[in-house]
């Protein structure tokens, strides 16, 4: 699956200002019943809204500072390296490697018990930044540091998808 650009699967080329684009019709996966989802939902702020809007389109964004060139993740209103507010949304290839991970076997966290055992991982993207997420679609015993992965999106409800990662 190397080179398969899952995060732009609906064929739209990545743009520098995704918030300017009209909502793209989402893929064919049925929207799950929102009452089935009992995990915490992301808090969507003015700073992070473009990120979450892109996730709903199954696109993963990082940020690149126009002043100093630093790439950063998670989204912020300013560059965490030089404090410039001139930060651009940059499409990520969605590809990376597992930086580190743990397999959780016991939890009291609401909504997570049905997922046990599940993999929590830090993934280093090709863009050079680390993302915390889950590795899904892979037997947890097969997950390893350095394993190549790519982003996939879990559709939580209308307008909300959460980036996860799977093997490639």
């Amino acid at each position: 699956m190397t080179g398969d650009r899952q995060n732009v699967e609906r064929g739209s080329a990545p743009t520098p200002n995704p918030t300017d684009r009209p909502n793209v019709e989402r893929g064919s996966a049925p929207t799950p019943n929102p009452t089935d989802y009992t995990k915490p939902l992301p808090e969507i702020s003015a700073e992070s809204k473009p990120f979450w809007d892109a996730c709903a389109r199954h696109e993963l964004l990082v940020q690149t500072c126009r002043a100093c060139g630093s790439v950063q993740y998670y989204p912020r209103g300013v560059c965490a390296t030089c404090w410039s507010p001139d930060v651009a949304w940059t499409p990520s290839s969605g590809r990376g490697r597992v930086y580190t991970f743990t397999v959780t076997h016991r939890t009291q966290a609401r909504g997570f018990r049905d997922d046990l055992p599940y993999v929590l991982a830090w993934i280093e993207l090709e863009e050079g930044v680390q993302v915390m997420s889950n590795i899904v679609g892979v037997d947890p015993v097969k997950v390893a540091i350095g394993m190549p992965v790519k982003v996939t999106f879990e559709d939580v409800k209308d307008g909300l998808s959460i980036p996860k990662f799977t093997g490639r």
Binding site: Q72, R76, T104, Q130, V131
Partner: protein, 189 residues
């Protein structure tokens, strides 16, 4: 297994608890019945996700430890016992490396063979630590209390012989994400 590779005994207990300290100016300390313990050096630091470029093997102790030692004019070899915040076993290993007791990556070997047990070169967490004794969620006060008792010679069967300098290091937050580190170097009067 709880969260691989941490098993049940790699994780701290969950308890209630509390502690208190009285801190006084050296002028007042002269008249106290109980020999006071002196703060020789201290420092705090914060580690965070570094906007997505964090070295996970290094904690805030790598910054607070050297600064505390520098203020005290001491080094790890001057320390007879240490109270190291132990939410999990890995917390202790990373902290010992970052404080300079051993090289990065060698924490496992350092704590093997009884080195950190009573009677070893560097007894650690002689009150049983968060792993065995207590962890109310804010364990740090117990680290200072036990270090003070060791320096005063009040620890009976768990007394570290001739304890002149003790190190205390607390970690707050999430080791793998955002956390703080605070290092104290304490000395007997």
């Amino acid at each position: 297994m709880i969260s691989a590779p941490l098993h049940l005994l790699d994780c701290c207990v969950i308890t209630d608890g509390g502690g208190a300290l009285v801190v006084v100016h050296p002028d007042l300390a002269r008249d106290l019945r109980t020999p006071p313990v002196r703060l020789l050096g201290s420092a705090e630091a914060i580690a965070h996700t570094s906007a997505g470029r964090r070295d996970f093997l290094v904690s805030a102790a790598a910054e607070s430890g050297p600064r505390a030692f520098a203020e005290a004019g001491l080094s790890p070899r001057d320390v007879q016992m240490a109270m190291i915040y132990d939410s999990f076993t890995i917390t202790v290993l990373v902290t010992l490396e970052d404080l300079g007791f051993c090289k990065k990556g060698q924490g496992g070997g350092f704590v093997s063979g009884g080195r950190i047990a009573l009677g070893g070169e560097l007894p650690i967490n002689t009150d049983g630590g968060g792993l065995s004794s207590n962890h109310p969620g804010m364990r740090g006060i117990f680290l200072v209390v036990e270090a003070v008792k060791q320096l005063r010679g009040e620890c009976g069967e768990r007394q570290v012989p001739n304890c002149r300098v003790a190190l205390v290091h607390g970690t707050g937050g999430a080791l793998g994400n955002r956390h703080s580190g605070a290092t104290l170097i304490l000395g007997r009067t």
